[in-house]
Protein backbone atom coordinates (compact mmCIF):
# COMPACT_ATOMS: atom_id res chain seq x y z
CA UNK A 1 0.00 0.00 0.00
CA UNK A 2 1.41 3.33 -0.99
CA UNK A 3 2.01 5.27 2.18
CA UNK A 4 1.19 8.96 2.12
CA UNK A 5 3.48 10.76 4.50
CA UNK A 6 2.72 13.99 6.27
CA UNK A 7 4.58 17.13 5.19
CA UNK A 8 5.71 17.63 8.78
CA UNK A 9 7.10 14.09 9.13
CA UNK A 10 10.78 14.79 9.69
CA UNK A 11 11.72 11.12 9.94
CA UNK A 12 11.46 10.40 6.23
CA UNK A 13 14.23 10.13 3.69
CA UNK A 14 13.34 12.38 0.75
CA UNK A 15 14.53 11.58 -2.76
CA UNK A 16 14.35 14.21 -5.44
CA UNK A 17 13.79 12.35 -8.67
CA UNK A 18 12.41 8.87 -9.37
CA UNK A 19 14.76 7.61 -12.07
CA UNK A 20 17.62 5.11 -11.98
CA UNK A 21 19.15 6.74 -8.88
CA UNK A 22 16.18 8.00 -6.86
CA UNK A 23 13.75 5.23 -7.81
CA UNK A 24 16.25 2.50 -6.98
CA UNK A 25 17.43 4.10 -3.74
CA UNK A 26 13.80 4.64 -2.68
CA UNK A 27 12.85 1.00 -3.17
CA UNK A 28 16.04 -0.30 -1.55
CA UNK A 29 15.42 1.81 1.55
CA UNK A 30 11.72 0.89 1.67
CA UNK A 31 12.67 -2.80 1.54
CA UNK A 32 14.74 -2.18 4.67
CA UNK A 33 11.73 -0.64 6.40
CA UNK A 34 12.85 2.96 6.02
CA UNK A 35 10.18 5.54 5.21
CA UNK A 36 10.71 7.29 1.89
CA UNK A 37 9.09 10.16 0.00
CA UNK A 38 10.09 10.54 -3.63
CA UNK A 39 9.40 13.98 -5.06
CA UNK A 40 9.06 13.70 -8.83
CA UNK A 41 8.73 16.81 -11.00
CA UNK A 42 6.82 15.00 -13.73
CA UNK A 43 3.52 13.17 -13.99
CA UNK A 44 2.89 9.45 -13.58
CA UNK A 45 2.15 7.61 -16.82
CA UNK A 46 1.85 3.84 -16.58
CA UNK A 47 3.49 1.85 -19.35
CA UNK A 48 0.25 1.11 -21.14
CA UNK A 49 -0.02 4.87 -21.70
CA UNK A 50 3.24 5.19 -23.62
CA UNK A 51 2.94 6.28 -27.23
CA UNK A 52 4.52 4.63 -30.30
CA UNK A 53 5.03 8.02 -31.95
CA UNK A 54 8.19 10.05 -31.62
CA UNK A 55 6.87 13.59 -31.34
CA UNK A 56 3.75 12.66 -29.37
CA UNK A 57 5.88 10.68 -26.96
CA UNK A 58 8.34 13.54 -26.69
CA UNK A 59 5.44 15.78 -25.65
CA UNK A 60 4.36 13.19 -23.10
CA UNK A 61 7.71 12.38 -21.49
CA UNK A 62 10.52 14.78 -22.33
CA UNK A 63 11.88 17.43 -19.98
CA UNK A 64 11.08 20.52 -22.03
CA UNK A 65 11.26 23.19 -19.31
CA UNK A 66 13.34 26.04 -20.56
CA UNK A 67 17.12 25.75 -20.40
CA UNK A 68 19.80 27.75 -22.14
CA UNK A 69 23.09 26.66 -23.70
CA UNK A 70 26.49 28.08 -24.49
CA UNK A 71 29.82 26.79 -25.74
CA UNK A 72 31.13 25.39 -29.00
CA UNK A 73 29.00 22.25 -29.10
CA UNK A 74 26.65 22.09 -32.03
CA UNK A 75 23.61 21.43 -29.82
CA UNK A 76 23.92 25.04 -28.60
CA UNK A 77 23.30 26.24 -32.15
CA UNK A 78 20.73 23.70 -33.34
CA UNK A 79 18.79 23.14 -30.10
CA UNK A 80 19.65 26.17 -27.94
CA UNK A 81 16.89 25.42 -25.42
CA UNK A 82 17.17 21.64 -25.46
CA UNK A 83 20.64 20.68 -24.23
CA UNK A 84 19.43 17.29 -23.04
CA UNK A 85 16.91 14.71 -24.14
CA UNK A 86 15.83 13.36 -20.77
CA UNK A 87 12.53 12.67 -19.08
CA UNK A 88 10.17 14.50 -16.74
CA UNK A 89 7.90 11.72 -15.49
CA UNK A 90 7.78 9.08 -12.79
CA UNK A 91 10.55 6.66 -13.69
CA UNK A 92 12.67 9.51 -15.01
CA UNK A 93 14.94 8.61 -17.87
CA UNK A 94 14.53 4.88 -17.15
CA UNK A 95 11.30 5.19 -19.14
CA UNK A 96 13.30 6.43 -22.13
CA UNK A 97 16.64 4.67 -21.91
CA UNK A 98 17.60 2.00 -24.42
CA UNK A 99 18.55 -0.59 -21.82
CA UNK A 100 22.30 -1.06 -22.36
CA UNK A 101 23.75 -2.26 -19.05
CA UNK A 102 27.53 -2.36 -19.03
CA UNK A 103 29.99 -2.41 -16.16
CA UNK A 104 32.74 0.19 -16.17
CA UNK A 105 36.24 -1.08 -16.88
CA UNK A 106 38.80 -1.19 -14.08
CA UNK A 107 40.92 1.67 -15.43
CA UNK A 108 37.88 3.93 -15.82
CA UNK A 109 37.79 4.35 -12.02
CA UNK A 110 41.42 5.52 -12.14
CA UNK A 111 41.58 7.93 -15.04
CA UNK A 112 44.06 10.40 -13.60
CA UNK A 113 46.43 7.56 -12.69
CA UNK A 114 45.93 5.84 -16.04
CA UNK A 115 45.77 8.71 -18.50
CA UNK A 116 47.96 11.15 -16.58
CA UNK A 117 47.33 14.88 -16.42
CA UNK A 118 45.77 16.18 -19.63
CA UNK A 119 45.83 19.88 -20.49
CA UNK A 120 42.33 21.29 -20.19
CA UNK A 121 40.92 18.22 -18.44
CA UNK A 122 40.01 18.01 -14.75
CA UNK A 123 40.69 14.29 -14.42
CA UNK A 124 40.46 12.60 -11.03
CA UNK A 125 40.44 9.01 -9.78
CA UNK A 126 37.20 7.79 -8.29
CA UNK A 127 37.35 7.21 -4.53
CA UNK A 128 36.10 3.66 -5.21
CA UNK A 129 37.46 0.82 -7.32
CA UNK A 130 35.86 -1.65 -9.65
CA UNK A 131 36.51 -4.39 -7.07
CA UNK A 132 34.51 -2.47 -4.46
CA UNK A 133 31.62 -1.98 -6.85
CA UNK A 134 31.58 -5.49 -8.33
CA UNK A 135 29.24 -7.05 -5.74
CA UNK A 136 26.80 -4.20 -6.39
CA UNK A 137 27.12 -4.56 -10.15
CA UNK A 138 26.13 -8.20 -9.64
CA UNK A 139 23.07 -7.18 -7.60
CA UNK A 140 22.14 -4.57 -10.16
CA UNK A 141 22.40 -7.02 -13.05
CA UNK A 142 20.10 -9.40 -11.23
CA UNK A 143 17.67 -6.60 -10.38
CA UNK A 144 17.54 -5.33 -13.96
CA UNK A 145 17.56 -8.80 -15.50
CA UNK A 146 20.48 -7.99 -17.76
CA UNK A 147 20.78 -10.36 -20.71
CA UNK A 148 23.92 -12.50 -20.90
CA UNK A 149 24.20 -12.37 -17.09
CA UNK A 150 22.51 -14.62 -14.50
CA UNK A 151 21.90 -17.26 -17.22
CA UNK A 152 19.55 -14.91 -19.05
CA UNK A 153 19.68 -15.52 -22.81
CA UNK A 154 20.66 -12.71 -25.15
CA UNK A 155 18.06 -10.96 -27.26
CA UNK A 156 17.71 -12.08 -30.87
CA UNK A 157 19.46 -9.78 -33.32
CA UNK A 158 17.34 -7.59 -35.56
CA UNK A 159 18.17 -6.38 -39.06
CA UNK A 160 20.13 -3.39 -37.81
CA UNK A 161 22.24 -5.69 -35.63
CA UNK A 162 22.83 -8.14 -38.46
CA UNK A 163 24.28 -5.36 -40.62
CA UNK A 164 26.50 -4.26 -37.73
CA UNK A 165 27.64 -7.83 -37.04
CA UNK A 166 28.48 -8.49 -40.69
CA UNK A 167 30.56 -5.30 -40.79
CA UNK A 168 32.22 -6.07 -37.45
CA UNK A 169 33.30 -9.46 -38.76
CA UNK A 170 34.72 -7.87 -41.90
CA UNK A 171 36.70 -5.37 -39.82
CA UNK A 172 37.99 -8.12 -37.55
CA UNK A 173 36.21 -6.96 -34.41
CA UNK A 174 35.96 -9.79 -31.90
CA UNK A 175 33.41 -8.58 -29.37
CA UNK A 176 30.13 -7.92 -31.14
CA UNK A 177 26.90 -9.32 -29.71
CA UNK A 178 23.34 -8.36 -28.89
CA UNK A 179 24.49 -6.67 -25.79
CA UNK A 180 23.92 -6.78 -22.10
CA UNK A 181 20.46 -5.36 -22.07
CA UNK A 182 17.95 -4.71 -19.29
CA UNK A 183 15.28 -5.92 -21.71
CA UNK A 184 13.69 -9.27 -21.06
CA UNK A 185 14.51 -11.93 -23.62
CA UNK A 186 12.03 -14.09 -21.71
CA UNK A 187 9.45 -13.16 -19.05
CA UNK A 188 11.15 -12.36 -15.74
CA UNK A 189 10.35 -10.49 -12.55
CA UNK A 190 6.74 -9.78 -13.62
CA UNK A 191 7.96 -8.16 -16.81
CA UNK A 192 6.99 -9.37 -20.29
CA UNK A 193 9.43 -10.51 -22.93
CA UNK A 194 10.48 -8.09 -25.65
CA UNK A 195 8.22 -8.20 -28.72
CA UNK A 196 10.67 -6.35 -31.00
CA UNK A 197 8.32 -3.42 -31.27
CA UNK A 198 10.90 -0.68 -31.57
CA UNK A 199 10.18 2.64 -29.85
CA UNK A 200 12.41 1.81 -26.86
CA UNK A 201 13.07 5.56 -26.45
CA UNK A 202 9.35 6.22 -26.25
CA UNK A 203 8.78 3.98 -23.23
CA UNK A 204 8.27 0.22 -23.55
CA UNK A 205 4.57 -0.50 -23.91
CA UNK A 206 5.19 -4.14 -22.93
CA UNK A 207 7.10 -3.25 -19.81
CA UNK A 208 9.84 -5.58 -21.10
CA UNK A 209 12.60 -3.05 -20.43
CA UNK A 210 13.52 -2.35 -16.81
CA UNK A 211 12.25 0.97 -15.52
CA UNK A 212 11.88 2.22 -11.96
CA UNK A 213 8.32 3.18 -12.99
CA UNK A 214 7.06 -0.39 -12.98
CA UNK A 215 9.89 -2.28 -11.27
CA UNK A 216 11.28 -0.47 -8.25
CA UNK A 217 8.51 1.95 -7.37
CA UNK A 218 5.55 -0.46 -7.14
CA UNK A 219 7.72 -2.84 -5.10
CA UNK A 220 8.61 -0.02 -2.76
CA UNK A 221 4.99 1.08 -2.52
CA UNK A 222 3.96 -2.47 -1.63
CA UNK A 223 6.05 -2.29 1.55
CA UNK A 224 4.01 0.62 2.87
CA UNK A 225 7.22 2.58 3.33
CA UNK A 226 7.36 4.48 0.05
CA UNK A 227 5.34 7.33 -1.38
CA UNK A 228 6.08 8.78 -4.80
CA UNK A 229 4.65 12.26 -5.17
CA UNK A 230 4.32 13.24 -8.85
CA UNK A 231 4.13 16.82 -10.16
CA UNK A 232 6.30 17.97 -7.26
CA UNK A 233 9.08 20.23 -8.54
CA UNK A 234 11.83 20.73 -5.96
CA UNK A 235 12.89 24.36 -5.65
CA UNK A 236 15.14 24.56 -2.61
CA UNK A 237 16.63 22.40 0.13
CA UNK A 238 16.41 23.99 3.57
CA UNK A 239 18.90 23.57 6.39
CA UNK A 240 19.19 24.49 10.06
CA UNK A 241 21.80 26.53 11.92
CA UNK A 242 23.91 23.42 12.49
CA UNK A 243 24.22 23.03 8.72
CA UNK A 244 22.09 19.88 8.44
CA UNK A 245 19.37 19.76 5.81
CA UNK A 246 15.84 19.75 7.19
CA UNK A 247 13.43 19.61 4.28
CA UNK A 248 12.67 20.28 0.66
CA UNK A 249 10.56 23.14 -0.68
CA UNK A 250 8.68 22.10 -3.81
CA UNK A 251 5.95 23.42 -6.08
CA UNK A 252 2.97 21.04 -6.06
CA UNK A 253 0.70 20.18 -8.98
CA UNK A 254 -1.15 23.48 -8.54
CA UNK A 255 2.06 25.51 -8.35
CA UNK A 256 1.72 26.07 -4.59
CA UNK A 257 4.89 25.90 -2.54
CA UNK A 258 5.05 23.14 0.08
CA UNK A 259 7.79 21.95 2.33
CA UNK A 260 8.39 18.27 2.99
CA UNK A 261 10.42 17.83 6.14
CA UNK A 262 13.18 15.25 6.02
CA UNK A 263 15.76 13.41 8.08
CA UNK A 264 17.89 12.85 4.99
CA UNK A 265 17.69 14.31 1.48
CA UNK A 266 19.00 12.48 -1.61
CA UNK A 267 19.25 14.51 -4.80
CA UNK A 268 18.66 12.52 -7.98
CA UNK A 269 17.31 14.89 -10.58
CA UNK A 270 19.93 14.11 -13.27
CA UNK A 271 23.08 16.13 -13.89
CA UNK A 272 21.44 19.39 -14.91
CA UNK A 273 18.67 19.65 -12.31
CA UNK A 274 20.67 18.27 -9.37
CA UNK A 275 23.35 20.99 -9.38
CA UNK A 276 20.68 23.56 -10.29
CA UNK A 277 18.84 22.67 -7.08
CA UNK A 278 21.98 22.74 -4.93
CA UNK A 279 22.98 26.11 -6.39
CA UNK A 280 19.48 27.46 -5.98
CA UNK A 281 19.54 26.45 -2.31
CA UNK A 282 22.22 29.02 -1.47
CA UNK A 283 21.79 30.65 1.94
CA UNK A 284 23.72 33.06 4.13
CA UNK A 285 25.52 30.08 5.65
CA UNK A 286 26.17 28.49 2.23
CA UNK A 287 26.38 31.48 -0.12
CA UNK A 288 27.71 29.44 -3.08
CA UNK A 289 25.01 26.80 -2.80
CA UNK A 290 24.69 23.64 -0.74
CA UNK A 291 27.58 21.17 -0.63
CA UNK A 292 29.71 23.58 -2.62
CA UNK A 293 32.69 24.44 -0.41
CA UNK A 294 34.86 22.94 -3.17
CA UNK A 295 33.28 25.15 -5.80
CA UNK A 296 32.76 22.00 -7.90
CA UNK A 297 28.93 21.92 -7.89
CA UNK A 298 27.79 22.21 -11.50
CA UNK A 299 31.31 21.80 -12.91
CA UNK A 300 32.84 18.91 -14.88
CA UNK A 301 29.64 18.41 -16.87
CA UNK A 302 30.09 15.40 -19.12
CA UNK A 303 27.80 14.08 -21.83
CA UNK A 304 29.82 11.25 -23.34
CA UNK A 305 31.57 11.69 -26.64
CA UNK A 306 28.73 10.76 -28.91
CA UNK A 307 27.71 10.91 -32.53
CA UNK A 308 26.07 8.49 -34.92
CA UNK A 309 26.95 6.86 -38.19
CA UNK A 310 24.18 5.97 -40.60
CA UNK A 311 24.79 4.05 -43.80
CA UNK A 312 22.64 3.54 -46.90
CA UNK A 313 22.64 0.24 -48.72
CA UNK A 314 21.33 -0.86 -52.10
CA UNK A 315 18.91 -3.27 -50.42
CA UNK A 316 16.40 -2.79 -47.58
CA UNK A 317 17.32 -2.92 -43.89
CA UNK A 318 14.27 -1.60 -41.94
CA UNK A 319 16.51 -0.71 -39.00
CA UNK A 320 13.59 0.62 -36.92
CA UNK A 321 12.10 -2.85 -36.52
CA UNK A 322 12.86 -4.32 -33.13
CA UNK A 323 15.05 -3.23 -30.25
CA UNK A 324 16.49 0.25 -30.75
CA UNK A 325 19.84 -0.64 -29.21
CA UNK A 326 20.09 -4.14 -30.60
CA UNK A 327 23.78 -4.82 -30.48
CA UNK A 328 27.18 -3.59 -29.49
CA UNK A 329 30.84 -3.65 -30.50
CA UNK A 330 33.18 -3.37 -27.52
CA UNK A 331 36.58 -3.67 -29.22
CA UNK A 332 37.18 0.09 -29.24
CA UNK A 333 36.23 0.54 -25.57
CA UNK A 334 39.79 -0.19 -24.41
CA UNK A 335 42.25 2.51 -23.47
CA UNK A 336 44.81 2.57 -26.27
CA UNK A 337 46.46 5.98 -26.67
CA UNK A 338 48.10 4.83 -29.93
CA UNK A 339 44.77 5.70 -31.57
CA UNK A 340 45.42 9.36 -30.77
CA UNK A 341 43.23 9.74 -27.70
CA UNK A 342 42.87 8.35 -24.19
CA UNK A 343 39.87 6.29 -23.12
CA UNK A 344 37.63 4.39 -25.47
CA UNK A 345 34.21 4.12 -26.99
CA UNK A 346 31.42 1.65 -27.60
CA UNK A 347 29.55 1.29 -30.88
CA UNK A 348 25.88 0.41 -30.37
CA UNK A 349 23.13 0.06 -32.94
CA UNK A 350 20.62 2.85 -32.98
CA UNK A 351 17.67 3.79 -35.10
CA UNK A 352 15.40 6.78 -35.26
CA UNK A 353 11.97 6.88 -36.88
CA UNK A 354 11.49 9.07 -39.92
CA UNK A 355 10.32 12.14 -37.94
CA UNK A 356 13.37 12.16 -35.66
CA UNK A 357 15.73 11.23 -38.47
CA UNK A 358 14.54 14.36 -40.28
CA UNK A 359 15.20 16.43 -37.16
CA UNK A 360 18.54 14.93 -36.08
CA UNK A 361 20.42 13.49 -39.08
CA UNK A 362 21.97 16.85 -39.87
CA UNK A 363 20.06 19.61 -38.07
CA UNK A 364 19.54 22.70 -40.17
CA UNK A 365 20.59 20.99 -43.40
CA UNK A 366 18.37 21.24 -46.47
CA UNK A 367 18.46 20.47 -50.16
CA UNK A 368 19.06 17.25 -52.06
CA UNK A 369 22.17 16.16 -50.21
CA UNK A 370 19.97 15.90 -47.14
CA UNK A 371 16.72 14.69 -48.67
CA UNK A 372 18.26 11.91 -50.77
CA UNK A 373 19.46 10.42 -47.49
CA UNK A 374 15.90 10.31 -46.17
CA UNK A 375 14.67 8.96 -49.52
CA UNK A 376 16.46 5.74 -48.62
CA UNK A 377 15.27 5.62 -45.03
CA UNK A 378 14.24 1.96 -45.28
CA UNK A 379 17.67 1.08 -46.69
CA UNK A 380 19.50 2.64 -43.75
CA UNK A 381 21.40 1.08 -40.86
CA UNK A 382 22.57 3.07 -37.88
CA UNK A 383 24.91 3.03 -34.93
CA UNK A 384 25.64 5.30 -32.01
CA UNK A 385 29.02 6.21 -30.61
CA UNK A 386 29.33 6.39 -26.84
CA UNK A 387 32.76 7.18 -25.49
CA UNK A 388 34.46 8.66 -22.48
CA UNK A 389 34.64 12.46 -22.59
CA UNK A 390 37.00 14.58 -20.54
CA UNK A 391 35.72 16.43 -17.47
CA UNK A 392 36.40 20.16 -17.79
CA UNK A 393 35.74 22.76 -15.11
CA UNK A 394 34.51 25.14 -17.81
CA UNK A 395 31.82 22.67 -18.88
CA UNK A 396 29.24 23.44 -16.30
CA UNK A 397 25.72 24.06 -15.16
CA UNK A 398 25.06 27.54 -13.86
CA UNK A 399 21.97 29.45 -12.83
CA UNK A 400 20.88 31.87 -15.53
CA UNK A 401 21.31 35.45 -14.40
CA UNK A 402 17.89 36.66 -15.61
CA UNK A 403 15.66 33.88 -16.89
CA UNK A 404 13.32 32.26 -14.36
CA UNK A 405 10.90 29.37 -14.67
CA UNK A 406 7.21 29.47 -13.74
CA UNK A 407 8.10 28.99 -10.08
CA UNK A 408 10.58 31.85 -10.08
CA UNK A 409 13.58 29.53 -10.03
CA UNK A 410 16.53 30.52 -12.22
CA UNK A 411 16.76 28.30 -15.30
CA UNK A 412 19.88 26.21 -15.89
CA UNK A 413 22.47 27.20 -18.45
CA UNK A 414 24.50 24.34 -19.87
CA UNK A 415 27.94 25.23 -21.17
CA UNK A 416 29.94 22.69 -23.12
CA UNK A 417 33.09 22.77 -25.23
CA UNK A 418 34.61 19.61 -26.66
CA UNK A 419 38.07 18.73 -25.38
CA UNK A 420 40.56 17.91 -28.15
CA UNK A 421 40.52 14.32 -26.88
CA UNK A 422 36.74 14.17 -27.40
CA UNK A 423 37.06 15.40 -30.98
CA UNK A 424 39.87 12.97 -31.80
CA UNK A 425 37.83 10.08 -30.39
CA UNK A 426 34.70 11.08 -32.29
CA UNK A 427 36.61 11.39 -35.56
CA UNK A 428 38.13 7.95 -35.01
CA UNK A 429 34.70 6.48 -34.34
CA UNK A 430 33.19 8.14 -37.41
CA UNK A 431 35.95 6.60 -39.50
CA UNK A 432 35.48 3.13 -38.01
CA UNK A 433 31.70 3.27 -38.30
CA UNK A 434 31.86 4.39 -41.92
CA UNK A 435 34.44 1.72 -42.75
CA UNK A 436 32.26 -0.92 -41.10
CA UNK A 437 29.25 -0.05 -43.24
CA UNK A 438 31.37 0.35 -46.37
CA UNK A 439 32.68 -3.18 -45.77
CA UNK A 440 29.11 -4.51 -46.10
CA UNK A 441 28.42 -2.48 -49.21
CA UNK A 442 27.12 0.88 -48.01
CA UNK A 443 26.85 3.30 -50.92
CA UNK A 444 26.86 6.35 -48.65
CA UNK A 445 27.52 7.02 -44.97
CA UNK A 446 26.68 9.94 -42.69
CA UNK A 447 28.77 11.13 -39.72
CA UNK A 448 25.84 12.46 -37.70
CA UNK A 449 26.46 15.02 -34.96
CA UNK A 450 25.61 14.38 -31.30
CA UNK A 451 21.95 14.65 -30.31
CA UNK A 452 20.84 16.63 -27.26
CA UNK A 453 22.53 14.81 -24.38
CA UNK A 454 21.00 11.65 -23.01
CA UNK A 455 23.95 10.79 -20.73
CA UNK A 456 24.43 13.75 -18.42
CA UNK A 457 27.14 13.20 -15.83
CA UNK A 458 29.62 14.58 -13.37
CA UNK A 459 28.25 17.83 -12.03
CA UNK A 460 28.39 16.79 -8.33
CA UNK A 461 31.37 14.53 -8.51
CA UNK A 462 32.72 12.03 -6.01
CA UNK A 463 36.16 12.63 -4.61
CA UNK A 464 38.45 11.31 -1.92
CA UNK A 465 39.26 14.84 -0.75
CA UNK A 466 36.59 17.43 0.01
CA UNK A 467 38.53 20.05 -1.95
CA UNK A 468 38.25 18.08 -5.22
CA UNK A 469 34.59 17.28 -5.40
CA UNK A 470 31.11 17.44 -3.92
CA UNK A 471 30.43 13.99 -2.44
CA UNK A 472 32.40 11.14 -0.89
CA UNK A 473 32.51 7.54 -2.03
CA UNK A 474 29.00 6.92 -0.72
CA UNK A 475 27.53 9.88 -2.55
CA UNK A 476 27.32 11.73 0.76
CA UNK A 477 28.05 15.45 0.59
CA UNK A 478 31.47 16.29 2.01
CA UNK A 479 29.94 19.35 3.67
CA UNK A 480 26.57 18.07 4.91
CA UNK A 481 26.29 14.56 6.26
CA UNK A 482 22.54 14.11 5.78
CA UNK A 483 22.63 15.25 2.14
CA UNK A 484 23.31 12.72 -0.61
CA UNK A 485 23.59 12.71 -4.38
CA UNK A 486 22.21 9.56 -5.98
CA UNK A 487 22.29 10.09 -9.74
CA UNK A 488 24.92 10.22 -12.49
CA UNK A 489 26.02 13.65 -11.34
CA UNK A 490 28.18 11.91 -8.71
CA UNK A 491 30.33 10.24 -11.40
CA UNK A 492 33.94 11.35 -11.05
CA UNK A 493 34.54 10.52 -14.71
CA UNK A 494 32.19 9.12 -17.32
CA UNK A 495 33.66 5.86 -18.61
CA UNK A 496 32.78 4.63 -22.07
CA UNK A 497 29.70 2.75 -20.88
CA UNK A 498 26.06 3.73 -20.76
CA UNK A 499 25.70 4.99 -17.19
CA UNK A 500 22.47 3.44 -15.87
CA UNK A 501 23.88 0.17 -14.51
CA UNK A 502 26.53 2.10 -12.58
CA UNK A 503 23.93 4.55 -11.23
CA UNK A 504 21.79 1.63 -10.03
CA UNK A 505 24.80 -0.14 -8.49
CA UNK A 506 25.81 3.01 -6.62
CA UNK A 507 22.22 3.48 -5.40
CA UNK A 508 22.06 -0.08 -4.01
CA UNK A 509 25.38 0.51 -2.27
CA UNK A 510 24.25 3.90 -0.99
CA UNK A 511 21.07 2.38 0.47
CA UNK A 512 23.18 -0.01 2.55
CA UNK A 513 25.30 2.90 3.78
CA UNK A 514 22.34 5.14 4.62
CA UNK A 515 20.62 2.31 6.53
CA UNK A 516 23.82 1.64 8.53
CA UNK A 517 24.30 5.30 9.33
CA UNK A 518 20.67 5.67 10.36
CA UNK A 519 20.78 2.69 12.72
CA UNK A 520 24.05 3.97 14.15
CA UNK A 521 22.21 7.28 14.66
CA UNK A 522 25.02 9.14 12.97
CA UNK A 523 22.55 10.77 10.57
Amino acid sequence: MAAPFDLTNDGVVVMIGSGAGGGTLGNELAQKGIDVVILEAGARHEYEDFINDEWDSFAQLAWTDKRTTSGDWRVAKDFPNLPAWIVKAVGGSTTHWAGASLRFQEHEFRTLSTYGKLEGANLLDWPITLAELEPYYAKAEDKLGVTLTNNIPGLPGNNNFKVMKAGADKLGYKECHTGRMAINSEPRDDRNACQQTGFCFQGCKWGAKWSTLYSEIPKGEATGHLEVRPNAMAIKINHDASGKVTGVVYADKDGRLQEQKARIVAVAGNSIESPRLLLNSASSQFPDGLANSSGQVGKNYMRHTTGSVYGIFDKPVHMYRGTTMAGIIRDEARNDPSRGFVGGYELETLSLGLPFMAAFLNPGAWGRSFTTALDHYDHMAGMWIVGEDMPREENRITLHADLKDEHGMAVADVHFDDHANDTAMRDHAYKQGSALYAAVGATRTFPTPPYPSTHNLGTNRMSEKAADGVVNKHGQAHDIKNLFVSDGSQFTTGGAENPTLTIVSLAIRQADYIAEQMSAKSI
Partner: protein, 125 residues
Amino acid sequence: MATLIQMARDIYPHDQVPDKYYAIAVKAHDEQAGKDPAHKDLIENGIAELDSKSGKGGYTSLGWEEQRVAVLREIEDTPFFQAVRGGLVVGLYNQKEVWPIFGYEGESYSKGGYMARGFDDIEWL
Protein backbone atom coordinates in the same frame (compact mmCIF):
# COMPACT_ATOMS: atom_id res chain seq x y z
CA MET B 1 0.69 29.78 -51.43
CA ALA B 2 2.08 28.44 -54.71
CA THR B 3 5.39 30.16 -54.01
CA LEU B 4 5.49 28.77 -50.50
CA ILE B 5 4.77 25.25 -51.72
CA GLN B 6 7.49 25.50 -54.36
CA MET B 7 9.88 26.86 -51.76
CA ALA B 8 9.02 23.99 -49.40
CA ARG B 9 9.71 21.46 -52.14
CA ASP B 10 13.00 23.13 -53.01
CA ILE B 11 14.09 23.06 -49.37
CA TYR B 12 13.19 19.40 -48.84
CA PRO B 13 12.85 17.95 -52.35
CA HIS B 14 11.35 14.47 -52.48
CA ASP B 15 10.22 13.73 -56.03
CA GLN B 16 8.03 10.86 -54.89
CA VAL B 17 6.05 13.04 -52.43
CA PRO B 18 3.01 14.77 -54.00
CA ASP B 19 2.43 18.52 -53.63
CA LYS B 20 -0.48 18.09 -51.28
CA TYR B 21 1.77 17.06 -48.42
CA TYR B 22 3.96 20.13 -48.91
CA ALA B 23 0.76 22.21 -48.97
CA ILE B 24 -0.38 20.70 -45.67
CA ALA B 25 3.06 21.34 -44.21
CA VAL B 26 3.11 25.07 -45.01
CA LYS B 27 -0.57 25.66 -44.26
CA ALA B 28 0.32 26.25 -40.62
CA HIS B 29 1.97 29.53 -41.68
CA ASP B 30 -1.32 30.69 -43.22
CA GLU B 31 -3.16 29.83 -40.04
CA GLN B 32 -0.60 31.51 -37.83
CA ALA B 33 -0.53 34.58 -40.08
CA GLY B 34 -4.31 34.85 -39.63
CA LYS B 35 -3.83 35.19 -35.88
CA ASP B 36 -0.48 36.94 -35.66
CA PRO B 37 0.20 40.11 -37.73
CA ALA B 38 3.93 39.83 -37.13
CA HIS B 39 3.94 36.35 -38.62
CA LYS B 40 1.84 37.58 -41.55
CA ASP B 41 4.46 40.27 -42.24
CA LEU B 42 7.28 37.77 -41.91
CA ILE B 43 5.77 35.44 -44.51
CA GLU B 44 4.46 38.10 -46.92
CA ASN B 45 7.63 40.18 -46.85
CA GLY B 46 9.71 37.03 -47.13
CA ILE B 47 7.89 35.89 -50.24
CA ALA B 48 8.14 39.39 -51.73
CA GLU B 49 11.89 39.39 -51.17
CA LEU B 50 12.20 35.92 -52.65
CA ASP B 51 10.31 37.06 -55.75
CA SER B 52 12.30 40.25 -56.15
CA LYS B 53 15.60 38.37 -55.92
CA SER B 54 14.35 35.95 -58.59
CA GLY B 55 13.98 38.44 -61.44
CA LYS B 56 10.91 39.81 -63.07
CA GLY B 57 8.90 36.59 -63.31
CA GLY B 58 9.34 35.88 -59.62
CA TYR B 59 10.49 32.72 -57.82
CA THR B 60 8.15 30.26 -59.47
CA SER B 61 9.21 31.36 -62.94
CA LEU B 62 12.72 30.03 -62.40
CA GLY B 63 12.63 26.77 -64.32
CA TRP B 64 15.45 24.78 -62.73
CA GLU B 65 15.61 23.75 -59.11
CA GLU B 66 19.24 24.83 -58.95
CA GLN B 67 18.27 28.36 -60.03
CA ARG B 68 15.73 28.54 -57.22
CA VAL B 69 18.13 26.98 -54.73
CA ALA B 70 20.68 29.68 -55.59
CA VAL B 71 18.13 32.30 -54.52
CA LEU B 72 17.30 30.34 -51.36
CA ARG B 73 21.03 30.21 -50.48
CA GLU B 74 21.02 34.01 -50.49
CA ILE B 75 18.27 34.15 -47.87
CA GLU B 76 18.93 31.00 -45.86
CA ASP B 77 19.98 32.90 -42.75
CA THR B 78 16.86 35.07 -42.67
CA PRO B 79 14.12 34.54 -40.07
CA PHE B 80 11.68 33.96 -42.95
CA PHE B 81 13.67 31.09 -44.42
CA GLN B 82 14.35 29.57 -41.04
CA ALA B 83 10.68 29.78 -40.06
CA VAL B 84 9.66 27.96 -43.25
CA ARG B 85 12.45 25.38 -43.03
CA GLY B 86 12.03 24.81 -39.30
CA GLY B 87 8.28 24.36 -39.67
CA LEU B 88 8.76 21.77 -42.39
CA VAL B 89 10.89 19.47 -40.24
CA VAL B 90 7.84 18.53 -38.23
CA GLY B 91 5.14 19.74 -40.65
CA LEU B 92 6.28 17.55 -43.53
CA TYR B 93 7.97 14.55 -41.94
CA ASN B 94 5.50 14.05 -39.13
CA GLN B 95 2.57 13.44 -41.45
CA LYS B 96 1.64 9.80 -40.99
CA GLU B 97 0.42 9.65 -44.61
CA VAL B 98 3.93 10.50 -45.79
CA TRP B 99 5.67 7.74 -43.82
CA PRO B 100 4.83 4.81 -46.14
CA ILE B 101 6.36 6.72 -49.05
CA PHE B 102 9.68 6.49 -47.20
CA GLY B 103 9.12 2.92 -46.07
CA TYR B 104 8.58 3.86 -42.43
CA GLU B 105 5.89 1.77 -40.77
CA GLY B 106 5.15 3.89 -37.68
CA GLU B 107 3.29 2.51 -34.68
CA SER B 108 3.80 -1.22 -34.18
CA TYR B 109 2.56 -2.12 -30.70
CA SER B 110 -1.03 -2.73 -31.81
CA LYS B 111 0.28 -5.23 -34.36
CA GLY B 112 2.27 -7.11 -31.75
CA GLY B 113 5.58 -5.51 -32.65
CA TYR B 114 7.83 -7.08 -35.27
CA MET B 115 8.49 -10.38 -33.48
CA ALA B 116 6.56 -12.20 -36.19
CA ARG B 117 6.68 -9.42 -38.75
CA GLY B 118 10.21 -9.29 -40.02
CA PHE B 119 12.45 -7.75 -37.34
CA ASP B 120 15.23 -10.05 -38.57
CA ASP B 121 14.18 -10.74 -42.14
CA ILE B 122 17.25 -9.35 -43.86
CA GLU B 123 18.49 -11.79 -46.49
CA TRP B 124 21.12 -10.04 -48.54
CA LEU B 125 24.01 -10.03 -46.10
